[in-house]
Subunit: 318 residues, 2 copies
Protein backbone atom coordinates (compact mmCIF):
# COMPACT_ATOMS: atom_id res chain seq x y z
CA UNK A 1 0.00 0.00 0.00
CA UNK A 2 2.87 2.31 0.84
CA UNK A 3 4.27 1.66 -2.65
CA UNK A 4 0.89 2.42 -4.20
CA UNK A 5 0.61 5.68 -2.32
CA UNK A 6 4.07 6.82 -3.38
CA UNK A 7 3.17 5.94 -6.98
CA UNK A 8 -0.01 8.01 -6.73
CA UNK A 9 2.05 10.93 -5.40
CA UNK A 10 4.48 10.51 -8.32
CA UNK A 11 1.62 10.47 -10.86
CA UNK A 12 0.09 13.53 -9.20
CA UNK A 13 3.39 15.41 -9.56
CA UNK A 14 3.89 14.35 -13.16
CA UNK A 15 0.29 15.16 -14.10
CA UNK A 16 0.26 18.64 -12.57
CA UNK A 17 0.10 21.67 -14.80
CA UNK A 18 -0.77 19.96 -18.06
CA UNK A 19 -4.20 20.33 -19.52
CA UNK A 20 -7.02 22.79 -19.73
CA UNK A 21 -9.00 24.21 -16.84
CA UNK A 22 -11.83 21.67 -16.99
CA UNK A 23 -10.62 19.74 -13.95
CA UNK A 24 -11.38 21.92 -10.98
CA UNK A 25 -10.41 19.11 -8.62
CA UNK A 26 -8.06 16.43 -9.95
CA UNK A 27 -6.02 13.68 -8.27
CA UNK A 28 -6.31 13.71 -4.47
CA UNK A 29 -10.01 13.57 -3.70
CA UNK A 30 -12.69 10.89 -3.85
CA UNK A 31 -13.78 12.09 -7.28
CA UNK A 32 -12.48 14.54 -9.84
CA UNK A 33 -14.73 17.57 -10.31
CA UNK A 34 -15.05 18.71 -13.94
CA UNK A 35 -16.57 21.84 -15.34
CA UNK A 36 -18.37 21.81 -18.67
CA UNK A 37 -19.11 24.75 -20.92
CA UNK A 38 -22.80 25.78 -20.62
CA UNK A 39 -25.09 23.98 -23.09
CA UNK A 40 -22.53 21.24 -23.67
CA UNK A 41 -22.93 17.50 -23.27
CA UNK A 42 -20.42 15.22 -21.66
CA UNK A 43 -18.60 12.41 -23.50
CA UNK A 44 -17.06 9.38 -21.77
CA UNK A 45 -15.08 6.46 -23.19
CA UNK A 46 -13.06 3.68 -21.57
CA UNK A 47 -10.42 1.40 -23.14
CA UNK A 48 -8.51 -1.46 -21.58
CA UNK A 49 -4.87 -2.08 -22.53
CA UNK A 50 -3.55 -5.38 -21.21
CA UNK A 51 -0.05 -6.79 -21.59
CA UNK A 52 0.16 -9.69 -24.06
CA UNK A 53 -3.37 -8.92 -25.24
CA UNK A 54 -2.99 -5.34 -26.53
CA UNK A 55 0.79 -5.02 -26.46
CA UNK A 56 4.00 -6.92 -25.82
CA UNK A 57 6.65 -5.36 -23.67
CA UNK A 58 9.40 -6.65 -25.99
CA UNK A 59 7.96 -4.79 -28.98
CA UNK A 60 7.38 -1.33 -27.55
CA UNK A 61 9.26 1.05 -25.28
CA UNK A 62 7.09 1.95 -22.29
CA UNK A 63 6.48 5.47 -23.66
CA UNK A 64 4.98 3.99 -26.84
CA UNK A 65 2.60 1.85 -24.75
CA UNK A 66 1.54 5.00 -22.88
CA UNK A 67 1.07 6.95 -26.13
CA UNK A 68 -0.95 4.15 -27.75
CA UNK A 69 -3.06 3.69 -24.63
CA UNK A 70 -4.20 7.32 -24.51
CA UNK A 71 -4.62 7.43 -28.30
CA UNK A 72 -7.37 4.80 -28.05
CA UNK A 73 -9.43 7.05 -25.77
CA UNK A 74 -8.70 10.34 -27.57
CA UNK A 75 -9.62 8.71 -30.86
CA UNK A 76 -13.05 7.80 -29.46
CA UNK A 77 -13.59 11.44 -28.48
CA UNK A 78 -12.48 12.47 -32.01
CA UNK A 79 -15.03 10.03 -33.47
CA UNK A 80 -17.84 11.97 -31.77
CA UNK A 81 -16.42 15.32 -32.93
CA UNK A 82 -15.72 16.14 -29.27
CA UNK A 83 -13.18 18.30 -27.47
CA UNK A 84 -11.21 16.23 -24.94
CA UNK A 85 -11.41 17.44 -21.33
CA UNK A 86 -9.67 15.18 -18.83
CA UNK A 87 -8.43 11.60 -18.61
CA UNK A 88 -8.33 8.99 -15.85
CA UNK A 89 -6.02 6.01 -15.55
CA UNK A 90 -6.57 2.78 -13.63
CA UNK A 91 -3.28 0.92 -13.46
CA UNK A 92 -2.68 -2.69 -12.45
CA UNK A 93 1.06 -3.38 -12.12
CA UNK A 94 3.06 -6.56 -11.49
CA UNK A 95 5.17 -6.37 -8.31
CA UNK A 96 8.42 -6.92 -10.22
CA UNK A 97 7.78 -4.25 -12.89
CA UNK A 98 10.78 -1.87 -13.05
CA UNK A 99 10.08 1.66 -11.81
CA UNK A 100 11.62 2.94 -15.08
CA UNK A 101 8.91 1.19 -17.09
CA UNK A 102 6.15 2.92 -15.13
CA UNK A 103 7.87 6.30 -15.52
CA UNK A 104 8.33 5.77 -19.27
CA UNK A 105 4.71 4.73 -19.69
CA UNK A 106 3.47 7.82 -17.85
CA UNK A 107 5.84 10.05 -19.80
CA UNK A 108 4.51 8.76 -23.14
CA UNK A 109 0.91 9.09 -22.01
CA UNK A 110 1.34 12.56 -20.49
CA UNK A 111 3.26 13.93 -23.49
CA UNK A 112 0.27 13.13 -25.71
CA UNK A 113 -2.13 14.44 -23.05
CA UNK A 114 -0.27 17.73 -22.96
CA UNK A 115 -0.37 18.06 -26.75
CA UNK A 116 -4.16 17.88 -26.56
CA UNK A 117 -4.40 19.89 -23.31
CA UNK A 118 -5.99 16.96 -21.49
CA UNK A 119 -5.37 16.73 -17.77
CA UNK A 120 -4.81 13.39 -16.03
CA UNK A 121 -7.37 14.04 -13.32
CA UNK A 122 -7.62 10.77 -11.43
CA UNK A 123 -7.55 7.00 -11.49
CA UNK A 124 -6.58 4.03 -9.37
CA UNK A 125 -3.52 1.87 -8.74
CA UNK A 126 -3.36 -1.79 -7.80
CA UNK A 127 -1.10 -4.80 -8.08
CA UNK A 128 -1.89 -7.24 -10.89
CA UNK A 129 -0.27 -10.20 -12.62
CA UNK A 130 -0.25 -8.48 -16.05
CA UNK A 131 0.28 -4.80 -16.78
CA UNK A 132 -3.29 -3.49 -17.00
CA UNK A 133 -4.12 0.08 -18.00
CA UNK A 134 -7.72 1.21 -18.28
CA UNK A 135 -7.81 4.67 -19.83
CA UNK A 136 -10.92 6.77 -19.43
CA UNK A 137 -11.18 9.90 -21.54
CA UNK A 138 -13.87 12.52 -21.05
CA UNK A 139 -14.80 15.24 -23.51
CA UNK A 140 -17.50 17.71 -24.40
CA UNK A 141 -19.57 18.75 -27.40
CA UNK A 142 -22.36 21.32 -27.76
CA UNK A 143 -25.70 19.67 -26.90
CA UNK A 144 -27.10 17.61 -29.74
CA UNK A 145 -24.05 17.92 -32.02
CA UNK A 146 -22.00 14.79 -31.17
CA UNK A 147 -21.63 12.68 -34.31
CA UNK A 148 -23.08 9.21 -33.72
CA UNK A 149 -22.66 5.90 -35.52
CA UNK A 150 -26.38 5.79 -36.19
CA UNK A 151 -26.87 8.74 -38.57
CA UNK A 152 -25.86 7.31 -41.97
CA UNK A 153 -28.50 7.40 -44.73
CA UNK A 154 -28.74 5.61 -48.09
CA UNK A 155 -27.05 7.79 -50.71
CA UNK A 156 -24.48 9.22 -48.25
CA UNK A 157 -20.86 9.02 -49.36
CA UNK A 158 -18.26 7.29 -47.20
CA UNK A 159 -14.95 8.99 -46.37
CA UNK A 160 -11.77 8.23 -44.43
CA UNK A 161 -8.96 10.42 -43.15
CA UNK A 162 -5.32 9.58 -43.93
CA UNK A 163 -4.17 6.17 -45.14
CA UNK A 164 -5.18 2.72 -43.98
CA UNK A 165 -3.32 -0.49 -43.18
CA UNK A 166 0.01 1.11 -42.25
CA UNK A 167 -0.34 0.16 -38.60
CA UNK A 168 -1.24 -3.44 -39.42
CA UNK A 169 1.72 -3.64 -41.83
CA UNK A 170 4.07 -2.82 -38.96
CA UNK A 171 2.24 -5.22 -36.63
CA UNK A 172 2.71 -7.96 -39.22
CA UNK A 173 6.45 -7.28 -39.28
CA UNK A 174 6.57 -7.44 -35.48
CA UNK A 175 4.76 -10.78 -35.49
CA UNK A 176 7.27 -12.02 -38.08
CA UNK A 177 10.01 -11.32 -35.54
CA UNK A 178 11.43 -8.21 -37.19
CA UNK A 179 13.11 -5.75 -34.83
CA UNK A 180 11.76 -2.27 -35.59
CA UNK A 181 12.81 1.11 -34.31
CA UNK A 182 9.71 2.90 -33.02
CA UNK A 183 9.99 6.11 -35.03
CA UNK A 184 7.64 9.06 -34.51
CA UNK A 185 6.55 8.88 -38.15
CA UNK A 186 5.37 5.27 -37.90
CA UNK A 187 1.61 5.37 -37.18
CA UNK A 188 1.75 1.98 -35.49
CA UNK A 189 4.03 3.26 -32.74
CA UNK A 190 2.80 6.84 -32.61
CA UNK A 191 -0.75 7.00 -33.98
CA UNK A 192 -2.34 10.46 -34.16
CA UNK A 193 -5.85 10.80 -32.75
CA UNK A 194 -7.78 12.95 -35.28
CA UNK A 195 -9.24 15.34 -32.71
CA UNK A 196 -9.08 18.46 -34.91
CA UNK A 197 -10.61 16.75 -37.97
CA UNK A 198 -13.45 15.32 -35.89
CA UNK A 199 -14.09 18.64 -34.27
CA UNK A 200 -14.08 20.42 -37.70
CA UNK A 201 -16.63 17.94 -39.07
CA UNK A 202 -18.85 18.48 -36.03
CA UNK A 203 -18.54 22.26 -36.09
CA UNK A 204 -19.56 22.54 -39.76
CA UNK A 205 -22.12 19.72 -39.45
CA UNK A 206 -20.54 17.91 -42.38
CA UNK A 207 -20.84 14.29 -41.23
CA UNK A 208 -23.99 12.21 -40.73
CA UNK A 209 -22.20 9.33 -38.93
CA UNK A 210 -18.67 8.72 -37.70
CA UNK A 211 -16.48 6.09 -36.02
CA UNK A 212 -12.73 5.73 -35.51
CA UNK A 213 -10.84 2.92 -37.21
CA UNK A 214 -9.56 0.90 -34.28
CA UNK A 215 -10.68 -2.63 -35.20
CA UNK A 216 -10.29 -2.28 -38.97
CA UNK A 217 -12.39 -0.82 -41.81
CA UNK A 218 -14.48 -3.98 -42.40
CA UNK A 219 -15.42 -4.25 -38.71
CA UNK A 220 -15.87 -0.55 -37.96
CA UNK A 221 -17.91 0.19 -41.09
CA UNK A 222 -20.15 -2.71 -40.07
CA UNK A 223 -20.78 -0.91 -36.77
CA UNK A 224 -21.99 2.17 -38.67
CA UNK A 225 -24.14 -0.03 -40.92
CA UNK A 226 -25.68 -1.90 -37.96
CA UNK A 227 -26.36 1.21 -35.87
CA UNK A 228 -27.74 3.11 -38.89
CA UNK A 229 -29.66 0.17 -40.38
CA UNK A 230 -27.96 0.57 -43.76
CA UNK A 231 -25.54 -1.23 -46.11
CA UNK A 232 -22.31 0.07 -47.63
CA UNK A 233 -20.43 -0.41 -50.86
CA UNK A 234 -16.70 0.27 -51.10
CA UNK A 235 -14.57 0.81 -54.22
CA UNK A 236 -11.46 -1.39 -53.95
CA UNK A 237 -9.51 1.15 -56.05
CA UNK A 238 -10.61 4.02 -53.80
CA UNK A 239 -9.08 2.89 -50.49
CA UNK A 240 -6.02 5.03 -49.57
CA UNK A 241 -3.34 2.48 -48.69
CA UNK A 242 -0.69 3.21 -46.07
CA UNK A 243 3.07 2.63 -46.16
CA UNK A 244 4.11 -1.03 -46.58
CA UNK A 245 0.42 -2.03 -46.59
CA UNK A 246 -1.84 -3.62 -49.22
CA UNK A 247 -5.59 -3.67 -49.85
CA UNK A 248 -6.11 -6.62 -47.50
CA UNK A 249 -4.40 -4.82 -44.62
CA UNK A 250 -6.20 -1.56 -45.43
CA UNK A 251 -9.58 -3.33 -45.34
CA UNK A 252 -9.04 -5.48 -42.27
CA UNK A 253 -6.03 -4.15 -40.35
CA UNK A 254 -6.83 -2.20 -37.20
CA UNK A 255 -5.27 0.49 -35.02
CA UNK A 256 -4.99 3.13 -37.74
CA UNK A 257 -7.05 5.52 -35.59
CA UNK A 258 -8.20 7.35 -38.71
CA UNK A 259 -11.79 8.57 -38.86
CA UNK A 260 -14.44 6.91 -41.01
CA UNK A 261 -17.47 9.08 -41.69
CA UNK A 262 -20.45 9.51 -43.95
CA UNK A 263 -21.82 12.71 -45.48
CA UNK A 264 -24.76 13.52 -47.74
CA UNK A 265 -24.12 13.14 -51.49
CA UNK A 266 -24.22 16.91 -52.01
CA UNK A 267 -22.11 17.91 -49.00
CA UNK A 268 -18.94 19.76 -49.95
CA UNK A 269 -16.21 17.72 -48.29
CA UNK A 270 -12.77 19.26 -48.85
CA UNK A 271 -9.88 17.04 -49.95
CA UNK A 272 -7.96 18.07 -46.84
CA UNK A 273 -9.18 19.10 -43.38
CA UNK A 274 -6.65 20.77 -41.06
CA UNK A 275 -3.91 19.28 -43.25
CA UNK A 276 -5.22 15.70 -43.20
CA UNK A 277 -6.18 14.05 -46.51
CA UNK A 278 -9.85 13.06 -46.88
CA UNK A 279 -10.73 10.31 -49.36
CA UNK A 280 -14.13 9.19 -50.60
CA UNK A 281 -14.13 5.38 -50.55
CA UNK A 282 -17.72 4.33 -51.19
CA UNK A 283 -21.36 4.95 -50.50
CA UNK A 284 -24.20 4.00 -48.19
CA UNK A 285 -27.02 1.89 -49.63
CA UNK A 286 -30.35 0.48 -48.53
CA UNK A 287 -29.77 -2.51 -46.26
CA UNK A 288 -32.70 -4.47 -47.72
CA UNK A 289 -31.07 -4.56 -51.15
CA UNK A 290 -28.07 -6.60 -49.94
CA UNK A 291 -27.55 -9.92 -48.20
CA UNK A 292 -24.67 -8.58 -46.07
CA UNK A 293 -23.78 -5.18 -44.64
CA UNK A 294 -20.69 -4.39 -46.72
CA UNK A 295 -19.99 -5.01 -50.40
CA UNK A 296 -16.82 -4.25 -52.27
CA UNK A 297 -16.56 -3.36 -55.96
CA UNK A 298 -13.46 -5.11 -57.34
CA UNK A 299 -11.13 -4.16 -60.22
CA UNK A 300 -13.04 -6.66 -62.34
CA UNK A 301 -16.20 -4.54 -62.01
CA UNK A 302 -17.90 -7.16 -59.86
CA UNK A 303 -19.40 -6.63 -56.45
CA UNK A 304 -18.74 -9.17 -53.67
CA UNK A 305 -19.68 -9.23 -49.99
CA UNK A 306 -16.80 -8.13 -47.77
CA UNK A 307 -16.35 -10.37 -44.73
CA UNK A 308 -15.60 -8.72 -41.38
CA UNK A 309 -12.11 -9.47 -40.26
CA UNK A 310 -10.57 -7.22 -37.63
CA UNK A 311 -6.98 -6.95 -36.53
CA UNK A 312 -7.53 -9.92 -34.20
CA UNK A 313 -7.38 -11.93 -37.41
CA UNK A 314 -3.80 -10.82 -38.00
CA UNK A 315 -2.88 -11.38 -34.39
CA UNK A 316 -3.96 -14.98 -34.68
CA UNK A 317 -1.73 -15.58 -37.69
CA UNK A 318 1.47 -15.72 -35.63
Amino acid sequence: MVKERSLIRQIRRMAAASGNSAAKIGIGDDCAVLRLKPEYEFLVTTDLCIENVHFRRAWYPAAVVGHRCLTRGLSDIAAMGGEPLACFLSLGLPANLPQAWIKGFLRGLLALAKRHRVQLAGGDVSSASQITADIIVTGQAPSGTAILRSGANPGDRIYVTGNLGGSAATLKQLFAGKKLKPTRSNPHFYPTPRIEVGSHLRRYRLATAMIDLSDGLSVDLTHICEESGVAAILGSDKIPIGKDANLELALHGGEDYELLFTAPKNAKIPSRIVGVAITQIGEIRNRRDYSSAIQILGDNGRIRPLPQRGWEHFKNQR
Copy 2:
Protein backbone atom coordinates in the same frame (compact mmCIF):
# COMPACT_ATOMS: atom_id res chain seq x y z
CA MET B 1 -13.37 -11.10 -30.86
CA VAL B 2 -16.66 -12.74 -31.74
CA LYS B 3 -16.99 -13.81 -28.09
CA GLU B 4 -16.28 -10.27 -26.92
CA ARG B 5 -18.88 -8.85 -29.27
CA SER B 6 -21.54 -11.26 -28.08
CA LEU B 7 -20.65 -10.38 -24.48
CA ILE B 8 -21.03 -6.67 -25.26
CA ARG B 9 -24.43 -7.40 -26.81
CA GLN B 10 -25.40 -9.34 -23.68
CA ILE B 11 -24.30 -6.49 -21.41
CA ARG B 12 -26.18 -4.00 -23.57
CA ARG B 13 -29.35 -6.06 -23.22
CA MET B 14 -28.96 -6.49 -19.47
CA ALA B 15 -28.12 -2.79 -18.96
CA ALA B 16 -31.07 -1.45 -20.93
CA ALA B 17 -33.87 0.32 -19.14
CA SER B 18 -32.24 0.80 -15.78
CA GLY B 19 -31.10 4.20 -14.68
CA ASN B 20 -32.05 7.81 -15.02
CA SER B 21 -32.17 9.84 -18.22
CA ALA B 22 -28.64 11.24 -17.96
CA ALA B 23 -27.22 8.90 -20.60
CA LYS B 24 -28.59 10.14 -23.91
CA ILE B 25 -26.33 7.71 -25.76
CA GLY B 26 -25.12 4.62 -23.89
CA ILE B 27 -23.47 1.37 -25.01
CA GLY B 28 -23.06 1.12 -28.80
CA ASP B 29 -21.20 4.26 -29.85
CA ASP B 30 -17.61 5.48 -29.57
CA CYS B 31 -18.46 7.42 -26.41
CA ALA B 32 -21.44 7.69 -24.11
CA VAL B 33 -23.15 11.09 -24.25
CA LEU B 34 -24.32 12.36 -20.85
CA ARG B 35 -26.51 15.31 -20.01
CA LEU B 36 -25.93 17.33 -16.87
CA LYS B 37 -28.40 19.59 -15.11
CA PRO B 38 -27.60 23.26 -15.86
CA GLU B 39 -25.17 24.83 -13.36
CA TYR B 40 -23.96 21.42 -12.21
CA GLU B 41 -20.41 20.08 -12.14
CA PHE B 42 -19.41 16.61 -13.19
CA LEU B 43 -17.91 14.01 -10.85
CA VAL B 44 -15.76 11.08 -12.02
CA THR B 45 -14.19 8.23 -10.06
CA THR B 46 -12.50 4.98 -11.12
CA ASP B 47 -11.81 1.86 -9.03
CA LEU B 48 -10.02 -1.31 -10.02
CA CYS B 49 -11.19 -4.69 -8.70
CA ILE B 50 -8.77 -7.49 -9.44
CA GLU B 51 -9.12 -11.17 -8.59
CA ASN B 52 -6.87 -12.30 -5.73
CA VAL B 53 -6.04 -8.67 -4.97
CA HIS B 54 -9.48 -7.26 -4.13
CA PHE B 55 -11.49 -10.47 -3.95
CA ARG B 56 -11.22 -14.24 -4.05
CA ARG B 57 -13.61 -16.18 -6.19
CA ALA B 58 -13.91 -18.88 -3.49
CA TRP B 59 -15.16 -16.38 -0.90
CA TYR B 60 -17.84 -14.55 -2.83
CA PRO B 61 -20.62 -15.47 -5.24
CA ALA B 62 -20.17 -13.55 -8.50
CA ALA B 63 -23.15 -11.28 -7.68
CA VAL B 64 -21.41 -10.17 -4.46
CA VAL B 65 -18.26 -9.29 -6.41
CA GLY B 66 -20.40 -7.19 -8.79
CA HIS B 67 -22.20 -5.48 -5.89
CA ARG B 68 -18.94 -4.71 -4.06
CA CYS B 69 -17.31 -3.47 -7.26
CA LEU B 70 -20.00 -0.86 -7.98
CA THR B 71 -20.22 0.07 -4.27
CA ARG B 72 -16.63 1.32 -4.40
CA GLY B 73 -17.49 3.83 -7.12
CA LEU B 74 -20.89 4.86 -5.73
CA SER B 75 -19.30 5.41 -2.33
CA ASP B 76 -16.82 7.86 -3.88
CA ILE B 77 -19.73 9.81 -5.39
CA ALA B 78 -21.43 9.74 -1.96
CA ALA B 79 -18.24 11.13 -0.38
CA MET B 80 -18.54 14.26 -2.56
CA GLY B 81 -22.24 14.62 -1.76
CA GLY B 82 -22.98 13.87 -5.41
CA GLU B 83 -25.91 12.34 -7.28
CA PRO B 84 -24.76 9.34 -9.34
CA LEU B 85 -25.45 9.58 -13.08
CA ALA B 86 -24.02 6.68 -15.09
CA CYS B 87 -21.38 3.99 -14.71
CA PHE B 88 -18.89 2.37 -17.08
CA LEU B 89 -17.27 -1.04 -16.79
CA SER B 90 -13.98 -2.23 -18.27
CA LEU B 91 -13.82 -6.00 -17.93
CA GLY B 92 -10.79 -8.26 -18.39
CA LEU B 93 -11.87 -11.90 -18.32
CA PRO B 94 -9.90 -15.18 -18.33
CA ALA B 95 -10.75 -17.39 -21.31
CA ASN B 96 -11.92 -20.26 -19.09
CA LEU B 97 -14.20 -18.16 -16.88
CA PRO B 98 -17.68 -19.74 -16.80
CA GLN B 99 -20.38 -17.74 -18.55
CA ALA B 100 -22.49 -18.10 -15.38
CA TRP B 101 -19.87 -16.19 -13.38
CA ILE B 102 -20.00 -13.23 -15.77
CA LYS B 103 -23.82 -13.23 -15.70
CA GLY B 104 -23.86 -13.38 -11.89
CA PHE B 105 -21.33 -10.56 -11.64
CA LEU B 106 -23.36 -8.34 -13.97
CA ARG B 107 -26.58 -9.20 -12.16
CA GLY B 108 -25.11 -8.14 -8.80
CA LEU B 109 -23.67 -4.95 -10.26
CA LEU B 110 -26.83 -4.02 -12.18
CA ALA B 111 -29.17 -4.71 -9.25
CA LEU B 112 -27.27 -2.12 -7.20
CA ALA B 113 -27.12 0.24 -10.20
CA LYS B 114 -30.89 0.02 -10.59
CA ARG B 115 -31.44 0.76 -6.89
CA HIS B 116 -29.54 4.03 -7.37
CA ARG B 117 -30.96 4.71 -10.86
CA VAL B 118 -27.49 4.57 -12.40
CA GLN B 119 -27.27 3.41 -16.00
CA LEU B 120 -24.42 1.20 -17.21
CA ALA B 121 -23.59 3.41 -20.20
CA GLY B 122 -20.40 1.92 -21.63
CA GLY B 123 -17.10 0.20 -21.06
CA ASP B 124 -14.71 -2.25 -22.66
CA VAL B 125 -14.15 -6.00 -22.73
CA SER B 126 -10.89 -7.88 -23.14
CA SER B 127 -9.28 -11.18 -22.26
CA ALA B 128 -6.98 -11.16 -19.23
CA SER B 129 -5.25 -13.68 -16.96
CA GLN B 130 -7.08 -12.47 -13.83
CA ILE B 131 -10.65 -11.22 -13.57
CA THR B 132 -10.21 -7.44 -13.82
CA ALA B 133 -13.08 -5.00 -13.39
CA ASP B 134 -12.48 -1.27 -13.58
CA ILE B 135 -15.63 0.54 -12.51
CA ILE B 136 -16.04 4.17 -13.46
CA VAL B 137 -18.88 6.06 -11.84
CA THR B 138 -19.95 9.55 -12.89
CA GLY B 139 -22.13 11.89 -10.90
CA GLN B 140 -23.17 15.50 -10.57
CA ALA B 141 -23.40 18.20 -7.94
CA PRO B 142 -24.44 21.87 -8.18
CA SER B 143 -21.38 23.98 -9.06
CA GLY B 144 -19.16 24.68 -6.10
CA THR B 145 -21.02 22.42 -3.65
CA ALA B 146 -19.12 19.10 -3.89
CA ILE B 147 -17.67 18.27 -0.46
CA LEU B 148 -13.88 17.96 -0.68
CA ARG B 149 -11.27 16.37 1.57
CA SER B 150 -9.56 19.70 1.94
CA GLY B 151 -12.14 21.77 3.85
CA ALA B 152 -11.62 20.69 7.48
CA ASN B 153 -10.73 23.44 9.99
CA PRO B 154 -9.35 23.31 13.54
CA GLY B 155 -12.25 23.10 15.96
CA ASP B 156 -14.47 21.14 13.53
CA ARG B 157 -16.04 18.00 14.96
CA ILE B 158 -15.49 14.63 13.26
CA TYR B 159 -18.44 12.33 12.49
CA VAL B 160 -19.05 8.92 10.96
CA THR B 161 -22.15 7.22 9.61
CA GLY B 162 -23.13 3.73 10.79
CA ASN B 163 -20.73 1.35 12.55
CA LEU B 164 -17.10 0.58 11.79
CA GLY B 165 -15.05 -2.59 11.60
CA GLY B 166 -17.88 -4.97 10.73
CA SER B 167 -16.58 -5.56 7.23
CA ALA B 168 -13.04 -6.25 8.47
CA ALA B 169 -14.40 -8.64 11.11
CA THR B 170 -15.96 -10.73 8.35
CA LEU B 171 -12.81 -10.49 6.24
CA LYS B 172 -10.80 -11.78 9.18
CA GLN B 173 -13.10 -14.77 9.46
CA LEU B 174 -12.72 -15.46 5.74
CA PHE B 175 -8.92 -15.30 6.06
CA ALA B 176 -9.19 -17.72 8.98
CA GLY B 177 -10.83 -20.20 6.61
CA LYS B 178 -14.38 -19.88 7.93
CA LYS B 179 -17.13 -20.57 5.41
CA LEU B 180 -19.67 -17.76 5.59
CA LYS B 181 -23.05 -17.36 3.96
CA PRO B 182 -23.11 -14.00 2.18
CA THR B 183 -26.28 -12.60 3.75
CA ARG B 184 -27.78 -9.27 2.64
CA SER B 185 -27.42 -7.89 6.16
CA ASN B 186 -23.64 -8.47 6.33
CA PRO B 187 -21.98 -5.19 5.27
CA HIS B 188 -18.88 -7.03 4.08
CA PHE B 189 -20.82 -8.87 1.37
CA TYR B 190 -23.45 -6.21 0.67
CA PRO B 191 -22.09 -2.82 1.71
CA THR B 192 -24.45 0.16 1.29
CA PRO B 193 -23.03 3.23 -0.45
CA ARG B 194 -24.26 6.22 1.60
CA ILE B 195 -25.50 8.24 -1.38
CA GLU B 196 -28.55 9.76 0.38
CA VAL B 197 -26.59 10.77 3.50
CA GLY B 198 -23.83 12.39 1.42
CA SER B 199 -26.37 14.20 -0.70
CA HIS B 200 -28.23 15.43 2.43
CA LEU B 201 -24.99 16.79 3.94
CA ARG B 202 -24.23 18.59 0.67
CA ARG B 203 -27.73 19.99 0.23
CA TYR B 204 -27.82 21.49 3.73
CA ARG B 205 -24.12 22.49 3.59
CA LEU B 206 -23.48 20.68 6.88
CA ALA B 207 -20.02 19.21 6.21
CA THR B 208 -16.71 21.02 5.72
CA ALA B 209 -14.82 17.93 4.50
CA MET B 210 -15.78 14.36 3.64
CA ILE B 211 -14.29 11.02 2.55
CA ASP B 212 -15.63 7.47 2.39
CA LEU B 213 -14.15 4.78 4.62
CA SER B 214 -12.69 2.37 2.11
CA ASP B 215 -9.12 1.93 3.40
CA GLY B 216 -9.94 2.23 7.12
CA LEU B 217 -10.51 5.11 9.55
CA SER B 218 -6.82 5.67 10.38
CA VAL B 219 -5.83 5.90 6.69
CA ASP B 220 -8.85 7.82 5.41
CA LEU B 221 -8.84 10.38 8.23
CA THR B 222 -5.16 10.95 7.44
CA HIS B 223 -6.20 11.86 3.87
CA ILE B 224 -8.54 14.55 5.24
CA CYS B 225 -5.79 15.78 7.59
CA GLU B 226 -3.20 15.93 4.79
CA GLU B 227 -5.46 17.63 2.24
CA SER B 228 -6.78 20.09 4.85
CA GLY B 229 -3.43 20.67 6.58
CA VAL B 230 -4.85 19.80 9.99
CA ALA B 231 -4.54 17.18 12.76
CA ALA B 232 -7.29 15.11 14.36
CA ILE B 233 -7.99 13.66 17.76
CA LEU B 234 -10.32 10.69 18.22
CA GLY B 235 -12.01 9.45 21.39
CA SER B 236 -11.47 5.70 21.68
CA ASP B 237 -14.77 5.36 23.57
CA LYS B 238 -16.64 7.31 20.87
CA ILE B 239 -16.05 4.99 17.88
CA PRO B 240 -19.25 3.08 16.93
CA ILE B 241 -18.13 -0.53 16.64
CA GLY B 242 -19.77 -2.88 14.16
CA LYS B 243 -20.98 -6.47 14.64
CA ASP B 244 -18.23 -8.95 15.62
CA ALA B 245 -15.67 -6.12 15.48
CA ASN B 246 -13.46 -4.48 18.10
CA LEU B 247 -11.76 -1.08 18.43
CA GLU B 248 -8.71 -2.24 16.47
CA LEU B 249 -10.84 -3.35 13.51
CA ALA B 250 -12.97 -0.21 13.72
CA LEU B 251 -9.86 2.01 13.60
CA HIS B 252 -7.95 0.17 10.90
CA GLY B 253 -10.32 -2.18 9.06
CA GLY B 254 -11.43 -1.03 5.63
CA GLU B 255 -14.35 -1.52 3.25
CA ASP B 256 -17.04 -0.24 5.61
CA TYR B 257 -18.05 2.36 2.98
CA GLU B 258 -19.42 4.58 5.73
CA LEU B 259 -18.88 8.35 5.41
CA LEU B 260 -16.37 10.25 7.52
CA PHE B 261 -16.99 13.99 7.65
CA THR B 262 -16.20 17.12 9.59
CA ALA B 263 -18.54 19.96 10.53
CA PRO B 264 -18.13 23.22 12.43
CA LYS B 265 -18.40 22.97 16.24
CA ASN B 266 -21.74 24.80 16.25
CA ALA B 267 -23.31 22.98 13.30
CA LYS B 268 -26.48 21.10 14.24
CA ILE B 269 -25.76 17.55 13.09
CA PRO B 270 -28.76 15.26 13.71
CA SER B 271 -28.19 11.88 15.33
CA ARG B 272 -29.71 10.19 12.28
CA ILE B 273 -29.79 11.27 8.65
CA VAL B 274 -32.21 9.44 6.33
CA GLY B 275 -32.32 6.67 8.93
CA VAL B 276 -28.54 6.23 9.25
CA ALA B 277 -26.92 6.80 12.67
CA ILE B 278 -24.41 9.67 12.86
CA THR B 279 -21.78 9.59 15.62
CA GLN B 280 -19.34 12.27 16.69
CA ILE B 281 -15.96 10.58 17.18
CA GLY B 282 -13.45 13.39 17.65
CA GLU B 283 -12.31 16.81 16.59
CA ILE B 284 -9.98 18.61 14.23
CA ARG B 285 -6.93 20.37 15.71
CA ASN B 286 -4.07 22.54 14.54
CA ARG B 287 -1.50 20.41 12.75
CA ARG B 288 1.45 22.32 14.21
CA ASP B 289 0.50 21.29 17.75
CA TYR B 290 1.05 17.58 17.06
CA SER B 291 3.91 15.42 15.85
CA SER B 292 1.59 13.19 13.81
CA ALA B 293 -1.71 13.70 12.01
CA ILE B 294 -4.00 11.57 14.20
CA GLN B 295 -4.07 11.17 17.97
CA ILE B 296 -6.36 8.95 19.98
CA LEU B 297 -7.58 9.60 23.52
CA GLY B 298 -7.55 6.28 25.39
CA ASP B 299 -9.70 4.98 28.27
CA ASN B 300 -6.80 5.87 30.56
CA GLY B 301 -7.21 9.57 29.69
CA ARG B 302 -3.92 9.64 27.80
CA ILE B 303 -3.43 10.75 24.22
CA ARG B 304 -1.22 8.67 21.90
CA PRO B 305 -0.45 9.01 18.18
CA LEU B 306 -2.53 6.63 16.06
CA PRO B 307 -0.49 4.82 13.41
CA GLN B 308 -2.02 4.44 9.94
CA ARG B 309 -2.86 0.85 9.20
CA GLY B 310 -5.33 0.14 6.44
CA TRP B 311 -7.07 -3.06 5.60
CA GLU B 312 -4.01 -4.20 3.65
CA HIS B 313 -2.57 -4.78 7.11
CA PHE B 314 -5.22 -7.40 7.83
CA LYS B 315 -4.85 -8.95 4.42
CA ASN B 316 -1.19 -9.55 5.11
CA GLN B 317 -1.95 -11.37 8.34
CA ARG B 318 -3.10 -14.50 6.58
